[in-house]
């Protein structure tokens, strides 16, 4: 599905990713851990091709196609989607309309299908009338981002901290929805959607099982492997210790 080869990325002339390699196969879901400022969000926005995030080396292959030079719109058309960590407020565009746009429908009328989806995410019809992200609470932003993704239904799903600052009940809902987006509820051989989820406390992995975990440090993927092992090491000893142990294991091999 996605293959990133020795990617170097700059933001505002400042290098944030260095020789980063990552492969995500069809049907796989990966989590990405790492300290604040290590470059996790930059990686997602680089994959998505945001203009500010400039590739200075390496390549991104998506569905067998080199997309390194494609625009965001073109990448999205190929089947990418993202739930943002800090989405901007868009004045005058209602959440319901935004959901329509995600479905490729430019009408402003909020139809039954949109209302049904909103209900699934525990949003009222009135909430759909609010300007996108204007005054949304932290939890509401998470649910709204996931709702938009579900309307879009991409093959490759990126989620930037879907589990940060979410209460227990909402967490359960979000876990369910992400499970659906990533085909976690069906047999592995039938899964066609893939995912990359940024998480600090790995909370999301209590709700869905994932196939791989990676730790990012200073713009590099410093350690990858079995999610249970990596997550428990990070939780016990922190990112750096996990990475040190990981590298020692690799050295031994």
């Amino acid at each position: 599905m996605l293959e990133i080869k020795s990617l170097n990325l700059e933001v505002d002339g400042r290098p944030v990713l260095k020789d980063l390699n990552l492969t995500i196969k069809e049907g796989e879901s990966h989590v990405l851990l790492g300290p604040n400022g290590s470059g996790k969000t930059s990686l997602l926005l680089g994959i998505l091709g945001f203009p500010k995030y400039k590739v200075t080396g390496g390549s991104i292959i998506f569905k067998g196609k080199d997309i390194t030079d494609l625009s965001t719109a073109e990448r999205v058309k190929l089947g990418m989607g993202i739930a943002f960590q800090h989405p901007p407020v868009i004045r005058g565009i209602k959440l319901g309309e935004m959901v329509n746009l995600c479905k490729g429908d430019t009408s402003q009328q909020i139809n039954q299908q949109t209302r049904t989806l909103a209900k699934k995410l525990h949003f009222s019809d009135e909430f759909l009338e609010r300007d996108v992200n204007a005054g949304f609470s932290g939890g509401e932003i998470k649910r709204s981002e996931i709702m938009q993704l579900m309307a879009q239904d991409p093959d490759f799903v990126m989620l930037d901290e879907p589990d940060s600052g979410v209460d227990i009940e909402n967490m359960e809902l979000i876990g369910d929805m992400i499970g659906e987006l990533l085909h976690r509820r069906i047999r592995p051989s039938k899964r066609t959607a893939s995912g990359l989820i940024i998480t600090h406390l790995a909370t999301i992995t209590d709700y869905i099982e994932v196939d791989w975990a990676h730790v990012m440090l200073n713009g590099m993927i410093a350690c990858s492997g079995n999610p249970d092992r990596i997550i428990s090491e990070v939780m016990k000893g922190g990112y750096e210790k996990c990475v040190r142990d990981c590298q020692m294991t690799m050295d031994r091999i």
Partner: protein
Amino acid sequence: MRKGLSDDDGPDIGKYTLDAEKHDAKDLAEIEDKYKQAFLDVGYDPEGAERSGSFLQVDHSVLCSKVMQEGVEIMSTTDALGKYSWLSDYWWHAVAPGKDVYTQQVDRKQTHGYFLRTLPGVKTTYPLQSCLFTGQEGLSQNVHNIVIAEEGSELHIITGCSVAEKVQSALHLGVSEFYVKKNAKITFTMIHNWAPEVEVRPRSGIIVEENGVFIGNYVSLNPVKDLQMYPVTYCGKNARATSQSIIYASKDSKIDIGSKMVLQGENSRAEVISRTVATDQADVTARGFLIGSAPNVKAHLECTGLMLSDTARIYSVPELEATVKDAELSHEAAVGRISEEEIAYLTARGLSEEEAAGAIVRGFLNVDIKGLPAALGAQVRQMIRMSAEVL
């Protein structure tokens, strides 16, 4: 006179004719049919469904003044002057006839205009609609409008001004005087749909008496050669006034628009909101002037501009003047471009960059029109959206 530019500056009256072809009531059906879409585009529904009354003037002829609710009056101001001797108390009372060459011209060479009135305590079930339309090339339309909401009444108006598609150049001079009596309310939504060679000089004065409410909304989304307006609202004790304008200025449009609020009654409140988009070579001056001259008055001015081209210009002029110690006046003004972050967000949802920019501009103009009855508000929003759709 303000900022060096005299109110007299502008269109040359002499260029336009006052010799209008006469239209008859018997032509109404044909005219309504011919210009149906143009009327609808400025909120005038020839069928008059969900309207408490209609007024239609084409060129210099009043073709329709129909009342659908008791306690509501609609007629040509010329007829109203003949009918009511007391009307002289309201005639040139909120606007001075000698203010500038355009008011002088309307005073000397008036060509009708509407008289709209609600009797005491009457509340319009549906809005009244009016349309001032020019179908003749090179014509000057010089209307004088009077709107009165008697004590305790409520009057909702939607009014449109437009020209026929074939008309290239025309002049529209419009004097409008509004009287909101004690405890009364007027909402006045005006939609202009001009053409690149049309010149426009509205001159409005609004007097809001004790506990009265006036809400004015102005929408203009099409090119216009030269438009200048600066309505002045005088707020009495406890009065409330709001002015909102939504402008999309394109091509070679030259627009100078603003609102002046004079808070002369104690405890009065006012709000001026303007949203301006300027593109191509458009030149827009957006003004707002709040004057607090009575105890405990409070007013706010919000002026936002969105620039879409390097050849356009937005000149924003917010002004505040307080002459009493406890007046509370404030303003926010901002001019900027479309946020890259917002474009990126929308492209991540599958829009192209152009589509994203269009959606953001439409959103920017999609101001919640305050104070209107729900159905009318929804209709006006829908009209703004439809017009913005083609931008």
